[in-house]
Symmetry: C2
Subunit: 293 residues, 2 copies
């Protein structure tokens, strides 16, 4: 199954036979005080800078979130989306828990967006799926409901199945539902990652839909988070994860591209070798420039 | 199942509930011309240096191989093992395809060694298993036979099963047979790694024995091998691999220790956090020393 997203002029396809889709996590004010204050003051320059930096670092898509307490989130999300779309030409994941913000975001988005997110809660499904269908978008769907996050992979699968069925009832194809199998920190529960990995392979085997998760969650509260995230991603990819909202730190992007090659999604290493040569050329150029000084 | 190896005074346990066992690959003259020449000249100083460096870098065990064409391999392996045992106190994987060399190696080894390796070939089983049994050692067993390396995971499982049965006939417990599920370069076959991963999980589910492979094989002929190896190891560990003969480059060792934590084999991250603090302390000390100069 393939989920097709579009920006102004570019298409990104998420799928089990495609290279992994890296969705940059950075344009999100949660836990970024200075950025949140800038946004409150109407300054979206960091959105522009973060969009450019993440695409430069290897992001295939960008997540954009405007979740700041007591702001006019629909208006802020619109201005952030405009800034991101002006800066880069990659599809965007419009990220909000507020239905009016998702609606506002979709109204200014040029292309086919990924809406982030719906859950298996009936009320959320009834609110958000019609909006997704109306805009012809795709949607990330979290495998939790009003009772919280299920403990077992089997329970998460059942919620995923419920969402795919509900989406179908609204005319949304299973290919346009991207399930979030839910990643939590291993710092609070030693079984957290194994449960997530089992959920991923179960959903792959039973539903065959695309999946996306917040990869950085697994390392929350632990030191050297990038190294932990970079070890988690290959495991999740081997289990069947097809995209992630994640850091574009070099160690994480390299782990993903290496895994693409290892899992046979970069035939004969063409992309891997091209990236290596580009890096060598850039280094040689930098050395020449330094020598000429 | 747990495979227990011993050096003079240290014990290492390989097992599914244990931290992954890192076996340093470096003490091997294959592809190391200068080292091979030193060994021919009777100079084992590089063995000492490599043993120290790999244990310092995080190796739990060391592989020692004396495979140089036209040398007296039994004698050379003995002197290399003596040098390694004098330098470090970790269990050793005695690595040779020559039965007399394995015999000589076992005769000078102080502890409980891992013999590397037997295959599913009848002749090899008949030669090597009595030796392993006589010395009370454990053995790495490659899942291939006289017809070569099987293509499918199911075929590799059957060879692994044959070896475990043959070992039992010689009084060697299944816990002392460490199966090599065979890793080949993804540069020659895009399916190579997925086949290896499926073999690992199949052997884990069906036989439950420990497994060890030459992790660096997956990246043979490709650029940035350490990064590829570091992405492969978390996948293989999540599938059930319990040890590897591998590079002790920091990116590889970190990927393994991160995966231990993610897979619940480093409860609450105790080892991960301790390693992080030790690194911070060392950095602070280095800075102080630099400032005092």
């Amino acid at each position: 199954m393939e989920t097709v997203l579009r920006s102004r002029s570019k298409t990104v396809t998420i799928g089990a036979e495609q290279p992994f889709c890296i969705i940059g996590e950075r344009i999100n004010p949660t836990g970024r005080k200075a950025f949140a204050q800038q946004l409150r003051d109407g300054d979206v320059s960091t959105v522009t800078a973060d969009a450019l930096a993440q695409v430069q670092a290897g992001a295939d898509m960008l997540d954009v979130n405007a979740g700041i307490p007591l702001v006019d989130e629909p208006e802020l999300l619109k201005s952030m989306l405009r800034a991101a779309q002006d800066a880069v030409d990659v599809p965007i994941c419009i990220d909000s828990s507020v239905i009016e913000a998702l609606e506002a975001g979709l109204s200014v988005y040029d292309g086919r967006a990924l809406v982030n997110s719906v859950t298996a809660e009936d009320e959320r499904l009834d609110e958000i799926l019609p909006l997704v269908a109306h805009h012809g978008a795709a949607v990330i769907a979290l495998a939790n409901d009003e009772t919280g996050i299920p403990e077992t992979p089997q329970q998460r699968l059942e919620l995923a199945r419920k969402i795919v069925t509900a989406a179908g009832d609204h005319g949304i194809a299973a290919a346009d539902v991207v399930i979030d199998p839910l990643a939590m920190t291993v710092g609070a529960d030693t079984e957290a990652v194994t449960t997530t990995l089992k959920t991923i392979s179960l959903i792959r085997d039973e539903l065959g839909v695309n999946m996306c998760l917040g990869a950085s969650n697994v390392s929350f509260g632990l030191p050297q988070r990038h190294v932990l995230n970079a070890a988690f991603l290959p495991m999740a990819m081997a289990a069947g994860l097809t995209s992630a909202i994640m850091s574009t730190a070099p160690v994480c992007v390299e782990a993903v591209r290496a895994s693409d090659l290892l899992l046979g999604h970069d035939a004969w290493g063409a992309s891997w070798i091209a990236a290596h040569r580009a890096r060598q050329a850039a280094e040689a150029q930098a050395q020449e420039a330094a020598a000429a000084r």
